[in-house]
Symmetry: C2
Subunit: 306 residues, 2 copies
DNA sequence: TCAAGTGATTTGTCTAGGACAAAATGAATT
DNA sequence: AATTCATTTTGTCCTAGACAAATCACTTGA
């Protein structure tokens, strides 16, 4: 039952650990000869730890845009070199370096204090743009290169989430328009962008309501109607499957009333090929502020005309 | 691509919505004649919404201990009766009813105020046991029965999460042992249980560190070593795939040092078939308190002997 | 020079039914 | 009551083929 005691992992365990489906694991074996698991007496696949490690590297490189046919035949060491060489950071920012050092030393509480201090010192919005965002990018890159481990990335996310939720401005019903409905689509793994967008909107005095991550398209539309939202805002991380993006956003655009604005933001939307008509794309938190201002200006104007 | 426009959902979509694996969906169809999806021109399964609804009911009843062979042949209405009968919500708790009414009226801010007020009135622990937990169960049941929409469940989760994170006791390095590492396994969708467990541990004065949800087994073990944790605590929602539970927990138990305790809690663990040796199962927040006390007692005793 | 096709290739997911391991049930025994 | 054992039920894994969707490599037209 316990896989490590048997000298390998079952295909279910590998699916859980790597996020690669059983179908993919089997078809890669058939097509590319890797992975090449051992077999139990009953003929079931048994993956050694080394193959699991290589599969995790492959997974990382594929998230960075590589294709399995190219990289599955390479050795573990070559893949490691690829991951390391993929990008380098030369910019030396002392605050960011300090935070990264705390993270690598697993000093979660101190990391949180550093965040808190930065918010008090520079204000929440500057913290978001000058510290949280670049730090998240660095952590993501470091994870891709294998410089930090997954649990360290989790620790970072958790501390930043806790900090942001504690610092989140409460609107307590006093917010002005627009009423914004915030969420992510199903399949989106990261909720940090959502929180940062929510904080920015609240700072602008907008009435923003978050549904949290992973709301199906039909339910976003239903929530928008129930909430009488002026704007629906979606957050996309770099990992979000690009193929789903255009289709799902188009579906949502069609399901929403024409007068409801649809805003998309986050790293996943920067490199998106095409965005459907009637959908705004914003590549940074500053653009949220601009868009809120533009929305208010347009509404005032129209209100004056009517 | 769009599932609803095709008049049904693909097998992947049903797997995602119900948590039933593709293999199970196909073998049920073969053995019991249900589900009986339509087919696309290419011969691929296309599940109508009604069958999805029935599958969700079946899933819920199986979580309550029923077996597929018994219930798959029953009608949607009969199953609905079973679900209604199974959970006795005769208890009319005015606070819970009030909160549920606020949720159904989409008054998120007021719901949050109600939570906040309850915490101030009864204390955080009583709030968790007497309000948050039963309310989460009611919301889950109502969702399964179709009495509330998914976005309403999201709204509930988001408001409760925000409340808990704001009310979370900070340990700021002053915590006493045990040092607890909190997370969930990959595949776990819900993070509320984790937050509630974290709050309980902090109330006990324990040094608890959360990695957030969905940490792979290998990385949990690495984090445990790096953090020198005394205890690793996992949270399982009712939706967590039962088949994976035993295997993954067994793997983790094997990967952790023998002196590190492993605690599993949450609705997903209540009906678990078997828990590996050396793993504690706790079915409520109170048990966390007991277990912390027991851990401290054992440690003092051993310390005195040595 | 860049945008928009077009065909070829790559890649992921689906299908079928058989096989069997693990768990639950029920009956017989201590 | 608690244990054992056989029987049923149930979930997972297997193979290998098929094909849809995404991407690449290339051409065409503005």
């Amino acid at each position: 039952m316990n896989s490590t005691s048997l000298g390998g992992l079952t295909i279910s365990a590998v699916e859980r650990e790597t996020g690669l489906s059983k179908d993919v694991l089997r078809v890669w074996e058939r097509r590319y000869g890797f992975p090449a698991p051992l077999r139990t007496a009953a003929g079931e696949r048994l993956y050694p730890e080394e193959q699991l490690a290589k599969l995790k590297l492959v997974r990382r490189l594929m998230d960075a845009g590589m294709r399995p046919g190219r990289i599955l035949s390479m050795s573990f060491e070559s893949l490691n070199g690829l991951v390391r060489g993929s990008d380098s950071e030369v910019s030396a920012d002392s605050a960011l370096d300090g935070a990264l050092a705390l993270l690598k030393a697993h000093r979660g509480a101190e990391l949180r204090s550093a965040f808190h201090h930065a918010i008090l010192h520079d204000g929440l919005f500057r913290f978001l743009t000058d510290m949280a965002t670049p730090l998240a990018i660095r952590v993501g890159n470091a994870w891709m290169r294998g410089d930090i481990r997954i649990f360290e990335e989790h620790l970072f996310t958790e501390q930043l989430t806790a900090t942001l939720r504690a610092a989140m401005p409460q609107d307590s019903g006093t917010g002005r328009p627009p009423r914004v409905l915030l969420t992510t689509l199903p399949g989106e793994q990261h909720g940090l962008g959502l929180l940062m967008a929510e904080a920015t909107l609240r700072l602008e005095g907008a009435q923003s309501i978050s549904l949290g991550p992973q709301t199906p398209v039909g339910d976003i539309a239903a929530a928008c109607l129930a909430n009488r939202s002026d704007v629906v805002a979606l957050s996309f991380s770099a990992n979000f499957p690009q193929n789903q993006l255009t289709g799902a956003v188009g579906m949502l655009r069609a399901a929403l009333p024409a007068e409801t604005a649809l805003w998309c933001g986050g790293a996943g939307v920067v490199h998106a090929r095409r965005i459907p008509d009637g959908v705004a794309r914003m590549t940074g938190l500053q653009e949220i502020r601009n868009e809120v201002a533009a929305w208010r200006a347009a509404r005032t104007e129209r209100g004056a005309q009517q």
